[in-house]
Amino acid sequence: MSPELASLLRILAAVGLMLMNGVILIYMLRRVLGRLHQRLGPVHVGPQGLLQTPMDVLKLLTKEDITPTNVDKALYFIAPAAVFTPSLMAYAAIPFSPTWMVTDLDTGLLYTLVVMSLVSMGLLMAGWASANKWSLIGGMRSVGQHIAYEIPLLLSVLPVVMYVGTLNLSSIVEAQSGTWLGILPQWFITNPLFWPAFIIFIVSALIKVNQTPFDMSEAESELVAGFATEYSSMKFGLFFLSEFSNSFIVSALAVTLFFGGWTLPFVPDEVLAPIAPVVFMLKVYVGIFVLMWIRGTLPRVRMDHLMQFAWKILIPAVLTWILVFGFIIKLFDLGRPVG
């Protein structure tokens, strides 16, 4: 097989995975939220309601596609794609197993974070082009929160990068294989040195996925449907899918950086190799369940509280922590650069 064909196949697999993921995650969200609220969630369409999201997608595909009169037609049309494409591109560098990934970028971490930050541009486009005041406020809010939390998100992964000395995601995973003293898995989450970074990462990542408690940009009780107010049919479906795809990416990043990716402690490599993607996906889905649990519990944060938290607390905190962390690993010579 020629390398071009192989990479094409990989890209197609990533697209398929993303669509599948979106469909499964929407179903999972409805079931999990249902259970959290002592309901059932969709159960009547297909066995255990499994056909529910395919039905929704089919319906959205055949709905009338309304273009309101006063919209900026070009932007209105591009915006869903501009939101959807980055969240698809972000799949490229995620290491599902030692061999399963679209491409093993040397700057994989940076690439993923940068591509994810493109989403906010699409949201602003949608908000601006819709010629709707709710959409405009929603788009503005989303840009505000994304820009504010880009910085702590980028900075919070720095301790990991300083520790392993690489931006390559699969190298970061490899650095976490093995155990501490034969008891704990050698994931970064088991090392107290990484806890502050992890907390900051989780908070800023939650904001990136636009979910409660940080769903100001589509706050249902305030802005009707935020940036997506004027979108109908599959354009809306793309927003919907990309939101879930984002939560997958965020969870996958957290697993890669802090929970050891596809590694498992006490399992020899030859056993692990075939089941590595399964292990990875399981970890990611546990992470997504926690996201949904948070979503079903917390009320929404106010915009100005959020901004103050970012600029006044989170960014100084993460900068300080990077400084302290750098001193610690330099003083005690803790860094374990790979490669």
Binding site: H37, E220, S221, E222, V224, T297, P299, R300, R302, M303
Partner: protein
């Protein structure tokens, strides 16, 4: 965009009401001229409602926003005007309850009770003890159900779906009990002049008591889930402060008034039915912000539970209705009777001319007074807070528009 209603002259802005002086509101009007403020940005006017998730019905607010800050608010009501007061003039006195049910459609019994009390006052009917106690019991159960709707939608306004669904879960049990007593889940048509329609069904006492036991646990959970949440506290504390003077000036009653630190409660100050024989406390807030309104209502739910326990325990025997003629014909005159509904004082002012229908009925609805307050309270808050403020006041549009 409409035409700006000002002209620019050499000395500044000329509005129809006079010269605009920066930093001060224009003379005679509160509205800052459109499109002008200290940043020089254009104000955004959004129409909130009649279809908007956080207006709880069909309230229409015309909100002028400067960025995210609310500058002015105009309340537009009347989307649910269906002539309850006018239709009452063609309804017999014992049928008035069916109209009042649909006035404040969440605290239903209180409307029926107010009508019944008014007619009884006119005709000087002595209500048997048991009827009074059953009425009070159903009224307190309804108060719980109504406060649960407030709690759920307040949670929904803050973006938390869980609270809403948990509140609905508890309300289901309450509605089952009320359905068993009266026959319908919402529009009971149970209280009539002279008493109630039917006796309590057998075995309902144990159901009510077991509900009280479970709900006591759930109520503390609700309080911890929403009230204990730091995000929620940061959003409600110090927001929407209604001072004592404002509260009095706008004629607030009920929990909104008590949150401002004024302890007026019809149940205690103008007691009716079985309330004089019950032991209960009246929670009072301190500064009148959203947090006070929240805590006062939560405490009211606990007091309601306490009252329900007393009512079930001490239910007297005897007939459940007084001897009343089949067709009520009160003497000519006028009467005012009020009850403490979940939203404040619900009053009925009846004018009669000796016929079988009222000559005129006035319905004093607490939410209408709360509605007027928005134009005063909302400006200066962020838009997100404005949505929450609407939730914290607990208005019911059926009562506002009637």
């Amino acid at each position: 965009m409409t035409e700006p209603h000002f002209t620019v002259t050499e000395s500044g802005l000329m509005t129809p009401e006079g010269m605009y002086i920066p930093g001060e509101p224009p003379k005679g009007i509160r509205r800052i001229p459109k499109g002008v403020d200290r940043l020089g940005t254009e104000h955004l006017i959004v129409n909130m409602g009649p279809q908007h998730p956080s207006t709880h019905g069909v309230l229409h607010l015309i909100v002028e926003l400067d960025g995210e800050e609310v500058v002015t608010v105009e309340v537009s009501i009347g989307f649910l005007h269906r002539g309850i007061e006018k239709l009452a003039e063609s309804r017999r006195f014992d049928h008035l309850g069916t109209l009042m049910d649909r006035g404040d459609y969440v605290s239903v019994i209180h409307g029926e009770q107010a009508v019944a009390l008014a007619v009884e006052k006119l005709m000087e009917i002595e209500v048997p003890a048991k009827a009074a106690w059953i009425r009070t019991l159903t009224a307190e159960l309804t108060r719980l159900a109504s406060h649960l709707v407030w709690f759920g939608t307040f949670g929904l306004d803050t973006g938390a779906m869980g609270q809403f669904l948990y509140a609905m879960r508890d309300r289901e049990v309450l509605l089952d009990i009320l359905e068993e007593i009266s026959g319908q889940r919402m529009m009971f048509n149970y209280v009539r002049p002279g008493g109630v329609v039917a006796d309590l069904p057998t075995g309902i006492e144990s159901r009510i008591l077991s509900f009280c036991d479970t709900f006591e646990v759930y109520l503390e959970e609700h309080d911890a889930l929403l009230g204990g949440n730091e995000i929620f506290q940061a959003r409600v504390k110090g927001i929407g402060v209604v001072s004592k003077e404002t509260a009095l000036a706008f004629g607030l009653t009920g929990a909104n008034l008590r949150a401002s630190g004024l302890g007026f409660d019809v149940r205690r100050d103008r007691p009716y039915d079985a309330y004089p024989e019950l032991e209960f406390d009246i929670p009072i807030g301190t500064i009148g912000d959203s947090w006070d309104r929240y805590t006062v209502r939560m405490e009211e739910m606990r007091q309601s539970l306490r009252m329900i326990r007393q009512l079930v325990g001490g239910m007297p025997g005897g007939p459940f209705t007084a001897k009343v003629p089949k067709v009520l014909r009160p003497p000519a005159g006028e009467v005012y009777a009020s009850v403490e509904s979940s939203r404040g004082e619900t009053g009925i002012h009846l004018f009669t001319d000796g016929g079988t229908t009222p000559y005129r009925m006035h319905y004093r609805a607490a939410s209408l007074f709360t509605c007027q307050l928005f134009e005063e309270i909302l400006p200066g808050h962020l838009f997100a807070d404005a949505c929450m403020l609407l939730g914290s006041f607990d208005i019911m549009l059926g009562e506002v528009d009637r």
